[in-house]
Symmetry: none
Subunit: 221 residues, 2 copies
DNA sequence: TAGTCTATCCTTAGCAC
DNA sequence: AGTGCTAAGGATAGACT
């Protein structure tokens, strides 16, 4: 029954791992459905192929695919339509592994994205943004950066540092200095179960996942 | 200019393939971003791994992965009935690699969290000044930095950028007077990354040159 | 090609079953 | 684990820059 609790509707939640195991499960289930639905719509509206693989907190596998999970993934791995040879597929997987650096670099790009968004949210300076939009050459895959470019980056950072200090001095002279970077490392753990879903989606149970986010980094200014 | 067309807001659309090629492109781009963001949030909130592969109408490949596309897909394939016949050593190496990536990702995630906290504190200036007075670890020969360090560096740079912009805001007038930084991309091509959490997302063309995942990052003050 | 703006339309957090 | 409910939070179609 409806408890007389006032607030009923949706509430904003922090974008961090949900602690309440129960809520986590519900949220995972709902959002997974939503994700698959979104993917489905994207495929329908744009007539494209896509595949999604998600491991539940419990380690189960949920997947979505249009027209099929396997075919799409295979196409991704081999960059060519329909390759039904398992071994061939395997080799391609191996090959793709070499793209690690590139992938990780892209990963970083996402982080930068978030920061960018936060910056705006906090209060962006439109003038500055519009003033100059430049691509960071060093965002290219790291393995593609030459030493000279890396050194350029280094010099740029040093210059940046100097510039920042200079400007800071212009503003106010009294600011106590202390630690800048500090890294510590406590510990964290895993979670719970999962379920299944619609269209071209299927679930398959797996072995226990090894979820260990045992790295906690603290950046103390 | 605002055409006198009354309706401004979102309108419902039929769930069928969009005909207007132009709209289709825009929709694909937007929804793809949204999809990746959703996936990212799912990963963050529930602490799970996921991977998405999408082929654009043009045939380009867009992918998202947490902690990594390849690792997640491999993990999916390795426990998939059709590909379970991979040798043992492979799995071991794979596991190890995944662990590393996971760990790396955890680091990055933490950094994002910290930066978020910093944002709330709203003490950019202090941070910058303090940072400037310390020995910057990344000032070591750039070529000696590992991927992790480079990533930290990158985040730090973003942080600095934000800080500086805030400062610039305070100083008001002097903002646009001096463009200290302008990193130009070697190639004029540019795609703005869609916002997402600490995950990896990358774009690669199937055949055409390379429309890498890049963003509009700029440091101007 | 991507980002901006606005008015909707859609998703989903918290509960209860 | 998945479903229904309600209202608030988000995503986004369309037009434009």
């Amino acid at each position: 029954m409806m408890n007389n609790s006032s607030i009923q509707g949706r509430r904003k939640i922090e974008m961090k791992k949900i602690t309440k195991k129960n809520n986590l499960q519900v949220t995972f289930s709902k959002r997974r459905s939503g994700l698959f639905k979104k993917a489905s719509e994207l495929c329908t509206l744009c007539g494209v192929d896509a595949a999604i693989v998600v491991f539940s907190p419990a380690g189960k596998v949920f997947s979505f695919g249009h027209p099929h999970v396997e075919s799409t993934i295979d196409r991704f791995l081999s960059r060519s339509p329909s390759v039904h040879n398992v071994n061939a597929s395997y080799n391609v997987v191996e090959a793709h592994r070499d793209a690690n650096i590139r992938e990780l670099n892209a990963h970083l790009g996402q982080l930068v994205d978030i920061l960018e968004i936060e910056k705006r949210k906090g209060q962006a300076l439109d003038e500055v943004r519009k003033a100059g939009r430049r691509q960071w050459w060093w965002q290219a895959p790291i393995d593609e950066l030459g030493l000279s470019e890396l050194q350029l980056l280094r010099n740029a950072l040093q210059e940046l540092k100097r510039s920042v200090e200079k400007q800071a001095d212009l503003l106010q002279a009294a600011v106590e200095s202390s630690n800048c970077w500090q890294f510590l490392a406590p510990n964290g753990v895993g979670t719970s179960g999962s379920g299944s879903e619609g269209n071209e989606m299927h679930t398959s149970s797996g072995i226990t996942p090894l979820q260990k986010f045992d790295q906690n980094l603290y950046l103390v200014f």
